[in-house]
């Protein structure tokens, strides 16, 4: 008898749906992947639900409510492997900008009756709440990297996703350095690879949507930005976007706040 197919679940917390959509965007691979797995729980795609436990849980989104903090613990208990997909799940996402502000002021700016709104003061990464087996970076994640992660799990090996900087991707692609050649400020030297150095390919500086690489020298890069005319306020701002709560970016942003 053939071994039972592994069970996949896709979970959503505070997020834009873009990273789970990336799975549906694997137009050439989707039906093949679906044939090798039992899609046990993927609400964006199916009304059918198969009970846990799950071999692989993909988790999108950050924790912003007390209820969600509880839900992620239940999902962890029911999952053999838990992989976070994207900047929200891995670093709190753009909504983590609230972590440096007063959330009650945020609520009252958007909603007339703040009492109806249940939210925590912070938006935090999944790893702040439960053990995470693997983190896939990006805002959004890269499609090829997602297929690599699912393939690796099916084969029982570690996913191969490089941890170097976007700079290395530019060099490999032969893309001219936008910072050196055009004086365009770029976060590529400190940003985790995975996008294929998209922004420089389009004559734009990297804006750090994959979050910090391993051991980034953000301080040195900030000096480079200053020489190109960036103000302290600019530096605090550029490190506070989609991965604002990733430690290396948070520290660098704090250092430039007046």
């Amino acid at each position: 008898m053939a071994a039972p197919k592994p069970k996949l679940a896709v979970w959503k917390f505070a997020s834009c749906d873009g990273c789970q959509l990336t799975l549906l965007n694997c137009e050439d691979e989707l039906l093949d992947v679906a044939a090798r797995l039992v899609i046990a729980d993927f609400r964006e795609a199916s009304r059918a639900v198969v009970k846990g436990p799950y071999d692989l849980s993909l988790v999108e989104g950050s924790i912003t409510t007390a209820k969600d903090a509880e839900r992620i613990r239940e999902i962890r208990t029911a999952s053999k492997l838990l992989v976070t997909i994207g900047a929200c799940a891995t670093a709190g996402g753009i909504q983590a900008l609230r972590n440096v502000k007063d959330v009650n002021e945020f609520i009252s700016l958007v909603y007339a009756s703040p009492a109806y709104i249940d939210t925590l003061a912070t938006s935090t990464a999944i790893a702040d709440h439960v053990r995470v087996d693997f983190e896939l970076r990006g805002c959004p994640i890269d499609r090829a990297q997602l297929i690599e992660v699912i393939g690796a799990v099916l084969q029982g090996r570690r996913p191969r996703t490089p941890s170097h900087s976007v700079c290395v991707e530019c060099k490999r692609a032969g893309t001219v350095c936008v910072m050196v050649a055009h004086g365009t400020p770029c976060l590529g030297p400190v940003t985790h690879a995975g996008c294929g150095a998209l922004c420089p390919t389009y004559s734009r500086g990297c804006y750090g949507c994959f979050g910090p690489m391993e051991t980034p020298n953000t301080k040195s890069l900030s000096r480079g930005w200053s020489r190109l005319g960036a103000s302290e306020a600019d530096l605090a701002r550029v490190f506070r976007t989609f991965n604002a709560d990733a430690e290396a970016f948070r520290r660098e942003a704090d250092a430039h706040e007046r």
Binding site: L24, N25, R47, S203
Partner: protein, 429 residues
Amino acid sequence: MSVRTIKVDSLARVEGEGALAVTIKDGAVTDVTLDIFEPPRFFEALLRGRRFDEAPDITSRICGICPVAYQMSAAHAMEDACGVTVDGQLRALRRLIYCGEWIESHTLHVYMLHAPDFLGYASGIEMAKDHPAIVERGLQLKKVGNDIIALLGGRSVHPINARLGGFFKAPTKAALAPLAERLRWARDAALETVHWAATLPIPDFERDYEFVALSHPDEYPFNEGRLMSNRGLDIAPREYDDHFVETQVPHSNALHSTIRGRGAYLVGPLARYSLNFDRLSPVAQDAARRAGLGLVCRNPFQSIVVRSVEILHACDEALRIIERYEPPELPAVDVSPRAGVGYAITEAPRGILYHRYRIDEQGTILDAKIVPPTSQNQKIIEEDLRGVVEANLRMSKERLTWRCEQAVRNYDPCISCATHFLTLRINET
């Protein structure tokens, strides 16, 4: 008193998280609520203090399915504040990337999210086991949409190439040529999609809606036009706040939107189609007629056919743009900040998306208001559900529940957008 409870805890095949409750007492619907429990992310608040040119990238993160819509509304609103107009080939390229998003988003909904309801499958993937060629056509059509966005924008989710004033880099004529080849296939596939959607068993159900959509004298609307309705609304985007009100309801993290003095209104494909039929491309008009659609469509279950017609139009329009394309001299026009307020409405796949920003002379955002299509459709969805349940009280609990889910999916609701939604719960007593 008769007591029946129909309950579903999480509505699927929608973007985001929500629930829905219908209360039936002695055979009459007494209460319908669409609960949106997707946690709020406070975009309007976190935009305060950011720079004006960051708005397209930040607001695109409201929605991974329609990021281009957010980038377009944000860019147009900031350009309005700064007194800049983007025209010529740059304007055409914006329409082209928007065509890509309509094709990608609509095809995902038609094939993977909505059609399974008509044919009795839990998902598009399940449907593919019995109808492999149909689902494969859908996936390849969706891919063409994503490829347009990826070519112009760098990637299909949260593209990186759009900016205030245009693009960071404009494509060469040669880069667009292979896309034209794919679009000729896609146009045929879209035409087959319209014919196939028309064969689906569509429930009889009509309501007299107030349709609200952009309307442009010469074009089916994407980025520009006046905001019109079939009940006499005819305003510029900057007059939006004078005519529409957003109110908060206890059961939802999304604000409800109504037209002052009149109430609920419908945005999205049905509204665009019914107000702009004669500006669809001739091939799309012809396909709509052959699919049995009138000049106005009041059956929300037929939205799957209307979306298919819009996919066809978008393929045709994209081809037209590529055929006439000449690279612009510069990829963007300069947008310098000045103190002021900017307004824009563009047609996201699910309907009108309103952005308003107030900025200072340095370009710092002082306040922001964003009204996504799904929050505008919430009230109409609740009214439709009431109608659907009242018309089908004798249906089995299981079938009625599914029909209600289908009625919600008629709107392709994007709950991630609306909270800046869905579990189904029918309580019968």
